[in-house]
């Protein structure tokens, strides 16, 4: 294995121009910056409707310094497949030199990935198109005003899972659907999770994914300042805590092998992560215990997949 990259390996090029209207402290902006650093200039980005889309291209301005196309919520992955096929066709006709490596990346939010764009994503993964799909997951429909999505975690307040005497935030008692497992079920060569608090890891994963031919999926956690009811300066700190508590596990899957890229020998209790966020402020100790049990089960599952204990027990 090659030497792990450091922060000094990140290139200075900025393909996401400043002046985009993402919120103060938006983690999606950090994620997109580093995805584009890894992709370089020869890339075509496809974006469905999502926070990143509405804020980066307020007509007549764009924050993108690479070719970028906006499509509907439903079909980002399908359009990315089309772009990838068009590049192939142009190469065959000799319009683009054969050796030129043009990457296609679709970047969508969790609503556009877990819910609305799901069948298009499934189609792309199943057909084996040469596309990297990145889902930045802020765990609700944030740009339309914080409505629950298929990615909203148990107990989280949103405007459609309100907190009152009867309803106590998101009710789904199980873990949300596992996007990586779904991707792997489509026999993709590469799938990974990443986190904006670990940009070098994110950068490495995007680089690695783009070097592989075929459909790839990267699922990135994205802290959301207005939607999670957090302070803007805490955005990265909370993303880091998600990894340290085991709420989020940074791992990758490559040709049948699972590898955890951020091992956590001793986990912090999930309350450390939950108590910093306004969307979880109504949770009782009982509720937190339930969430802790879900996280414990997930950590056990990942440890089993990797074959050894990479995520340790909760520190007392």
């Amino acid at each position: 294995m090659s030497k792990p990259l450091t922060v000094w390996d990140l290139p200075k090029d900025e393909f996401l121009a400043p002046g985009h209207r993402m919120c103060q402290g938006c983690a999606a902006a950090i994620t997109i910056r580093h995805i584009l650093k890894a992709a370089g200039k020869d890339v075509i980005v496809v974006m469905p409707t999502c926070c990143g889309e509405i804020t980066s291209t307020v007509y007549p301005q764009t924050a993108w310094r690479v070719p970028w196309i906006h499509v509907a919520f439903e079909n980002a992955a399908a359009v990315a497949s089309g772009v990838s096929a068009a590049i192939e066709a142009l190469k065959r006709k000799g319009e683009i030199p054969e050796e030129k490596d043009i990457k296609v990346i679709a970047i969508g939010g969790d609503g556009g990935t877990f819910d609305i764009g799901f069948q298009a994503l499934s189609g792309t993964l199943e057909r084996g198109d040469n596309v990297l799909y990145v889902c930045y997951d802020n765990e609700a429909y944030m740009n339309t005003g914080i409505q629950r999505s298929g990615a909203t975690p148990l107990g989280a307040w949103t405007t459609t899972t309100p907190v009152g005497k009867v309803w106590r935030g998101e009710w789904r008692p199980k873990k949300r659907k596992d996007l990586i497992a779904i991707a792997i079920a489509h026999n993709v060569p590469y799938a990974a999770t990443a986190n904006p608090a670990f940009p070098v890891d994110l950068y490495t994963k995007v680089k690695k994914a783009l070097s592989i031919k075929g459909p790839k999926l990267i699922h990135v956690l994205s802290t959301c300042v207005p939607g999670w009811r957090i302070e803007p300066e805490k955005a990265v700190e909370i993303a880091k805590l998600a990894v340290l508590t085991g709420m989020w596990i940074n791992y990758e899957y490559e040709n049948g092998v699972y590898r955890v890229t951020t091992p956590v020998p001793k986990r912090k209790p999930v309350s450390v992560y939950l108590r910093l966020q306004g969307r979880f402020r109504h949770l009782t100790d009982e509720d937190i215990k339930k969430i802790q049990e879900l996280v414990d089960a997930d950590v056990e599952r990942i440890n089993k997949l990797v074959g050894k204990q990479v995520i340790g027990p909760v520190e007392s």
């Binding site: 002046g19 007549p60 940009p199």
Partner: protein, 104 residues
Amino acid sequence: MSLPGWKQIPLGAVILKPGNSVEYKTGEWRTLRPEINQEKCIRCRTCWMFCPEGAILEVEEPYKTQAGKEYRLTYKVNYDHCKGCGICANECPVKAITMIEEAI
């Protein structure tokens, strides 16, 4: 910002100037302003890495601290676009960045 008329707008809402959002100064949103203490800064690149705007600039400008330590790089803030979120100050390992209230 002057808006173009309908005859000047290209078909299909294509934007022909990549990255022209720099014309929009998001620095106006800011209530707290980050100030980097060049004496304390250890040039670890953390603030540059975590800035959502890319508003921390890495400049090839040598700097010598009073203690005699020499650095090749200097980190500066692009105040035209910094929204003042404070991630840089929060993540700085040596607390070299302080958030100061903007004077009106």
